[in-house]
């Protein structure tokens, strides 16, 4: 048995592409929602606030699917390797992102100015920062898992 085969038994397979693909949506949508909120606050043009609430809703739906894919990914790795690390930081951040985004969707469903100012845009900003950090840690987790460095 060649040595590299022995090494391979300790390596975790990379995250399923579907997990990576789905996780791109909340990253893009939630950060974009903060930008459309900013534009609304600067213009008072309702259509920008409408964009925000669709982006937040889309981020919630795709983020929910991404979380599901992440859980499946984790379970799959654990079964194959047995000692895949629990991505705690990544998971807690994602729960915070989706929880705050849900509250933000309701705030953005108010009518006119107060759907964004001040609570809505503050939440959009916090969610945008958290989803960037969470995606960062997600990539790191994926890297560690795929190199077996965990």
């Amino acid at each position: 048995m060649p040595p590299h085969d022995l090494h391979a038994t300790q390596t975790v397979p990379p995250p399923h592409p579907i997990h990576t693909l789905l996780a791109a949506f909340p990253l893009a949508f939630f950060t974009a929602a903060f930008l459309t909120d900013l534009t609304y606050v600067n213009t008072a043009e309702m259509q920008w606030a409408n964009f925000s609430v669709w982006l937040i809703t889309g981020g919630l739906i795709m983020g929910g699917f991404a979380a599901l894919a992440g859980i499946i990914d984790f379970a799959r790795n654990r079964r194959r390797v047995g000692r895949a690390p629990r991505p705690w930081f990544h998971s807690v951040l994602n729960v915070a992102v989706l929880g705050l985004a849900l509250v933000n969707a309701f705030v953005h469903s108010r009518d006119a100015w107060t759907s964004v100012m001040p609570t809505g845009i503050i939440l959009s900003g916090i969610v945008a920062v958290l989803v960037i950090v969470s995606s960062w840690t997600g990539t790191t987790v994926a890297h560690r898992l795929s190199t077996g460095a965990a």
Binding site: A44, E45, M46, Q47, N50, V53, W54, T57, G64, A67, L68, G70, I71, F74, S91, N94, V95, L98, G99, L102, V103, A105, F106, V107, S109, R110, D111, A112, W113, T114, S115, M117
Partner: protein, 442 residues
């Protein structure tokens, strides 16, 4: 990862939070100086609509000294009754044009809620004529006077000209006394703000006592400018239309959704009932009844009940807020008044000189409000006293809505006609013991 259970828990918490908006006593909001609590923008605004039931042979409850009969049943979403000089009763059967686009996820949810309340029922888009020639209280003739209309609501006759206010135009038809079917094509008198959104679509219509002018209520195109202020051009206003040439001007503005336009026969003043704004609490803002002053601004969207600023409108207009005048009489919050008529002769003495108001009923407070017809006594041309329940029982004992009152009219023999758009009925309320006939003059 416990994302899904956490989300479910969050959703449950939000649902519980929504139950806080039951709404307090409505008594303090009746009259010229209603109690106005602080604004409360709920995370999930309270929503409660009565599920749809049916009369099943039952009838509304009337105050002592009155009786009620069904003048006509099986109509298609009747919204407005109108009595012709010969005693024939017209019924406008209508529903919204359905042109409001989905602009936000919220509107999908709202569509479900309103559908649950029966608001999705398709109206006849027609005017039906009822004739009770033998005076037994049951019209033996029912004829479609006009059909293929475009979400009509208001209707009024001046001489030989019958005006129908569709949601996008006032149309004139020639009418000859005794006619049961009009085949002549209508002539457009003037356009009215209709699509593409048409949030508040009902165009209430009345004529000045001398017949020279028409007054038409044009509701706002949003709850509180969430469709953009540019969508509100010519809206939230009462238009005055010259009958001779169709020229129009804004007679009064800042009236969010004015309906039940009618002239007080004793004072000659124009009156209306107005649906005020939603989603700042179960007890804000009180809907109201008011005399309409030429050139006056009543606050919408910038402020309510005088100078109470609405923070949801941007940019704000302090100059207009300063100019806003207070309406005459609060009806309490979210009752949704859609019909108003001054009492006529033939009713008991307790109902002389005042006005009846039909309250279609609330959807955005926990405890239902409205779903009844009330009477407000008047003295010296002004409301004088608390609104009294006259016709109730639209919510059945099982909590289901059997009917919802909309437009009102008085017939020549002291009968109060009520269009019930959920029960598809026109009710007639009269003095107990009086003949139930609608009474033709022929």
């Amino acid at each position: 990862m416990r994302t899904i259970p956490m989300l479910l828990l969050g959703a449950a918490t939000l649902t519980l939070a929504a139950c806080g908006g039951a709404g307090g006593s409505t008594e303090r909001q009746l009259g010229a100086d209603p109690h106005l609590p602080a604004i409360n923008q709920y995370l999930v605004p309270p929503m409660h609509v009565a599920p749809v039931g049916s009369w099943a042979g039952a009838a509304p409850t009337v105050a002592p000294g009155l009786q009620v009969t069904a003048l006509a049943t099986g109509l298609q979403h009747p919204r407005q009754p109108y009595v012709l000089p010969n005693g024939d009763v017209l019924v406008v059967e209508s529903s919204g044009p359905g042109t409001e686009p989905i602009k936000r996820p919220k509107e999908i949810i709202m569509g479900w809620v309103m559908g649950y309340a029966g608001a999705g029922a398709k109206g006849g888009n027609r005017v039906t004529l009822l004739r009770d020639a033998n005076g037994d209280g049951t019209p033996e003739l029912r004829s479609v006077l006009l059909d293929h209309l475009h979400s009509p609501f208001g209707i009024t006759l001046v001489g030989g000209d019958l005006y129908v206010a569709n949601t996008d135009a006032i149309v004139r038809y020639p009418y000859v006394t005794g006619q049961t079917r009009i085949t002549a094509p209508g002539v457009k008198l003037t356009d009215l703000p209709g699509g593409p959104i048409d949030h508040h679509w009902t165009k209430s219509l009345t004529a000045s006592p001398d017949g020279s002018k028409l007054y038409v209520g044009v509701g706002s195109n949003s709850n509180i400018t969430e469709n953009g202020i540019e969508a509100e051009k010519g809206r939230a206003a009462i238009w005055e239309v010259d009958r001779s040439n169709g020229a129009s001007r804004l007679y009064a503005t800042g009236l969010r959704n004015p309906n039940g336009l009618t002239f007080n026969p004793t004072s000659g003043q124009l009156w209306t009932v107005v649906n005020e704004r939603d989603e700042i609490g179960p007890d804000l803002v009180p809907d109201y009844m008011t005399s309409v002053k030429d050139g006056a601004f009543y606050g919408w969207p910038y402020s309510y009940w005088g100078q109470h600023v609405d923070p949801r409108v941007m940019p704000q207009r302090p100059d207009l807020v300063k100019a806003a005048i207070r309406p005459d009489y609060g009806l309490s919050s979210h009752v949704a008044p859609l019909g108003m008529v001054f009492a006529g002769a033939g009713l008991p003495a307790a109902y002389q000189g005042g006005a009846f108001v039909a309250e279609h009923g609330s959807w955005d407070r926990g405890n239902l409000n409205g779903y009844k017809v009330v009477y407000i006594p008047f003295a010296g041309g002004k409301p004088d006293g608390k609104a009294q329940d006259v016709v109730t029982g639209f919510i059945g004992p099982n909590g289901k809505a059997r009917g919802r009152p909309v437009g009102l009219a008085m017939d020549a023999r002291g009968g109060l006609l009520i269009a019930d758009d959920l029960g598809n009925t026109v009710w007639r309320v009269s003095a107990k013991g009086a003949p139930v006939a609608t009474a033709s003059l022929r």
